[in-house]
Amino acid sequence: MRSLSVNLIFLLAQSLLAGAALAAESLDTIIIDEGYDKQTRIAVVPFDAGPEFSNQADMGGIISFDLSRSGQFAPLERDNMLSFPGRPEQVFFRDWRVLGMEYLLIGNLRTVANGNTRVRYHLFDVVNEREMLGGEVTGTRAEWRDMAHEVADAAYEAITGIPGAFATKIIYVLAENAGSPSARYSLELADSDGERSRTLFSSDQPIMSPGWGPEGRRAAYVSWETGRQSIIIQDVESGEREIITRFSGINGSPVFSPDGRKLLMVLSRDGNPEIYLMNLANRSLRQLTRHHGIDTEPSFSPDGQQVIFTSDRGGAPQIYRLDLDTNLVERLTFEGGYNARARLLPDGRHMVYVHRRDGRYYIAWRDLERNDVRILTQTSTGLDESPSLAPNGTMLMYATQDQGRGILAVVSLDGSVKYRLPSSSGDVREPAWSPYLDFRM
């Protein structure tokens, strides 16, 4: 291949080429340095199910909704499908290519031993005309939605390279008539799409700051059920509860360590809120901060080596980072007079937190290396709080208000999609997204 060097400078000078460039070392190579990211077009064909499944929820529909709420997929409307294959031999790529599809997901259901349902699914790359993935999941009818979410997770990972987080759970606080004599507060568990909610604990006293153990089997939260604040750890499955702390003053912000053996917390037993780390095996406490200001809202870095927290030691709440080995503290936020309750992404390099701008509170995203800041939520009420990340770091759930009611909403980290979770009554708040779960509950 002949050198194009004579023309290279001419080419680079043409600004209308919008960044087109040739690699200097290999002049016949065209470097593609930008893209035009679109939602991935996928067809999720209604799963082939016999009449015995007619009263079950539409599994393909659940999967399709999962993919669309990620913001990264634009599933094809069923009315536009030309055929409804349930098995690989029924697939004709041409049918899907003319519809502009990039991927195709099909499946079929059978009743197997013990009345369980077996779901077989196949994912095809339409553009490159090949099957990418085939698999099966089995479960009871009560696990119908679990199976659907698991198939969605598998397809999502095969296409995007990122594990799916649809088969995960959330816990959150439901408050009814808060502040009134008939107040009722409950800790609720639901699927990550808000479906199948059930109550884990209920009290006429407030419940606050729920969070998950890293194994997804324990929840830690704050309760006033004894007339003062306590930190509780509850087994999600059995409902068994244990009071972990009941000091005078604040007993707040419980957050498990990544290995699940320790619990960060805020105690004001010495008259001022400070951050402590409890060893759950022997309940010993290590005091991490010592400052006359407010130190609160701790959380771990993914490697467990650092703790980020909110402090007003500089005069207004800002986010700081403490190294657990050196005890050195570093301030991370400087923009504006209110930055609080930060959580790090799984990559440890990005963080989400509550940021005040013009008297309104939004969820912000920050690149800690480049110090880029983006506002992810801009609701009209400006009362966004409690950001909680999906375990794959692509979606964020938060609490906000709509027409005077507390609701939960989700935004993708690239800001491309926002949706609300359904809630029937009361104020819902403080969502906590579970880790990946390798079991069904």
Binding site: R2, L4, L8, T29, E34, N128
Partner: protein, 96 residues
């Protein structure tokens, strides 16, 4: 001129390149593209993987979705530059 056709290829691929969320700036995948004189894509091969299958597939799909590129009528120029050429996918415009 070969370079204006190459610019056309660049633009056609960019317009069809939808990156997966796992893509990061400066990931690199190198693809060998084979055309026939009509400009139709007849072969796309990943010759150097980025290490991320979703990224590689998105690059491959970007070429396949383009399907056909404008190429010069001059058979000599076509054979020289467009029968077989490589594309290096290396994003610079992602958020992270």
């Amino acid at each position: 001129m070969a370079q204006s056709y190459q610019a056309g290829i660049y633009q056609a691929v960019v317009a069809n390149w939808s990156r997966p969320p796992s893509a990061r700036n400066r990931m690199e995948a190198k693809l060998l593209v084979e055309l026939v004189p009509t400009g139709d894509v007849v072969g796309v091969t990943v010759v150097e993987s980025s290490g991320n299958a979703a990224f590689d597939r998105s690059a491959e799909a970007a070429v396949r979705k383009a399907r056909r590129f404008e190429v010069p009528d001059d058979p000599e120029v076509f054979e020289e530059y467009f029968r077989r050429f490589t594309l290096l996918f290396r994003p610079e415009d992602l958020l992270r």
